[in-house]
């Protein structure tokens, strides 16, 4: 798991209460109890936490945590 992916997973657990074990299964957000509204909320949280210009709509509940990590990494997110 990349550093970014670990950070996304961390946010899903800490901020959104998704159990880490469930995230590790690699399923899309909608299987983790995250609907379209919460996907927008997640977008805002990632934007603030990682300082990347990700906009509502770019992350959907069809994405897996790994795909989201890839998306924000492509936008220049990095973790020290």
């Amino acid at each position: 798991m990349s550093g970014i992916e670990a950070r996304v997973s961390d946010i899903l657990t800490q901020r959104f209460g998704i159990p880490a074990g469930l995230i590790a299964e690699g399923q899309p957000l909608n299987k983790l109890g995250i609907d379209s509204l919460v996907a927008v909320e997640l977008t805002l949280v990632l934007r603030k936490a990682l300082g990347v210009a990700v906009e509502p709509g770019e992350i959907t509940s069809d994405h897996t945590p790994a795909e989201i990590a890839e998306l924000v990494a492509a936008k220049g997110a990095s973790v020290q």
């Binding site: 901020r15 959104f16 983790l32 995250i34 927008v40």
Partner: protein
């Protein structure tokens, strides 16, 4: 009794309450009977002109909701859900097996998810529109209190919110009763919830002059009918009742706390916040409730008063009670203990009224140490008073002059 009249006898088969006086019905009743205030200095209100309130000590949302759900629920909704679940369990009903299409939900609130709205308003001003949570539309609107209960319990019948300010709770029970009497529902979850202790609402109420300013001694601030009262103390709470037609409750051998016999509603049509000093609107609501119940004023044994501890309300209300009911009923205001939970107040007080009828025990009005000489009614203070209680009323009056009165009878 005619068939139509029988349909209007509504049994209270379940009670639920989360308030500053406790986390369930038993804790609430025990604390209310002590007649001791729950008001205390509130760190979230530090720096405001009035920095105390009645909070719910020990309420742990994580004990009731999954981590993935809890942050999506405004505090008012959390309180509403917990009280509703309590009431349904108390009624011995199982949402997994009931016919959800026949279960209605009617919830009263004054401010709904005001805390969430206030937080997002701050985000809007400080960070801009691109940082607003879409959940603001899930957490703030008043309708969500009833909607979330419907989702939580699979109640798919009429799903409504009543907003008559501090009369919202009795209004919800009154409307719930109509849904049962008309046959629209077989079960109604009715009550009220509010979590209005936020910096903005408290600052506004302080500006209005509605709040007690006893910042040096909050525990003495809510003192209904006392000569030294100087305003209300705001509380957070939820109170819920499960209502069924008395015949249905009897058929399933449900335990019944009390029977709802009547509801009266009126408007002062006088002023945005002050009560009409003539008491005309209040009197109309009391008389309408008694008429609906088919009872005469002389039959009322106990009144759970609105008793908000404001100078004007208590003297106006007492005058109406004296004029309509005489000096016979034992009157209390449980707001001395709980503070004023706005849209939830009348709901938790309906719960307390049902408990008073059940136990034949009237809780004392906290801090009513030197009753206002202008208050010429029998206010129970210092200690609970035991008496055979057959009929009780509960009064709730809201800003805007919206009044609601319920009549309950011992089951």
């Amino acid at each position: 009794m005619s068939r139509a009249a029988a349909l209007r006898d509504i049994a209270v088969t379940g009670l639920g309450v989360v308030s500053p006086a406790g986390l369930d019905v038993a804790e609430n009743w025990q604390r209310v009977l002590t007649g001791t205030s729950t008001a205390a200095t509130d760190t979230e209100l530090a720096g405001l002109p009035v920095d105390f309130s009645c909070r719910i000590p020990g309420f742990d949302p994580a004990a009731h909701f999954a981590p993935g759900e809890v942050w999506k629920l405004d505090r008012a909704t959390q309180l509403a859900l917990v009280a509703a679940r309590q009431a349904v369990a108390d009624a011995g009903l199982d949402p997994a097996t009931w016919d959800g299409a026949r279960v209605g939900v009617v919830i009263g609130t004054s401010m709904g998810g005001i805390g969430s709205l206030e937080r997002e308003a701050r985000t809007m001003l400080e960070e801009g529109p691109g940082w607003i949570s879409p959940l603001v539309w899930v957490m703030s609107p008043v309708n969500m209190l009833a909607a979330q209960i419907g989702m939580d319990l699979g109640a798919r019948g009429p799903n409504l919110v009543t907003a008559t300010a501090c009369a919202s709770g009795p209004t919800a029970v009154g409307l719930g009763r109509e849904l049962l009497a008309s046959g629209a529902c077989d079960i109604v979850i009715a009550g009220g919830a509010d979590a209005p202790v936020t910096p903005m609402t408290m600052a506004g109420l302080a500006q209005m002059g509605a709040l007690s300013t006893r910042t040096d001694d909050p525990a003495t601030a809510s003192r209904p009918f006392d000569a030294g009262r100087d305003g209300m103390v705001v509380a957070e709470a939820a109170g819920m009742l499960v209502l069924e037609r008395a015949a249905d409750a009897q058929a399933r051998r449900a335990a019944v706390w009390a029977t709802v016999l009547g509801f009266g509603s009126s408007a002062d049509a006088y002023h945005a916040s002050a009560p009409d000093p003539s008491g005309r609107g209040v009197e109309q609501a009391v008389r309408a409730a008694l008429s609906d119940a088919g009872l005469t004023p002389g039959e009322v044994d106990h009144v759970n008063a609105h008793g908000s501890s404001t100078p004007l309300n208590d003297v106006t209300e007492a005058a109406v009670l004296r004029r309509v009911l005489g000096d016979r009923p034992l009157v209390t205001s449980t707001k001395g203990v709980t503070g004023h939970a706005l849209g939830a107040a009348g709901a938790i007080e309906t719960v307390y009224t049902a408990l008073a009828l059940r136990h034949g025990l009237v809780p004392p009005t906290a801090n009513c140490d030197s009753p206002d000489p202008a208050v010429d009614i029998d206010v129970v203070a210092q200690a609970p008073r035991r008496a055979p209680l057959e009929v009780a009323t509960t009064n709730s009056f809201g800003f805007g002059g919206q009044n609601g009165v319920l009549v309950l009878a011992r089951a």
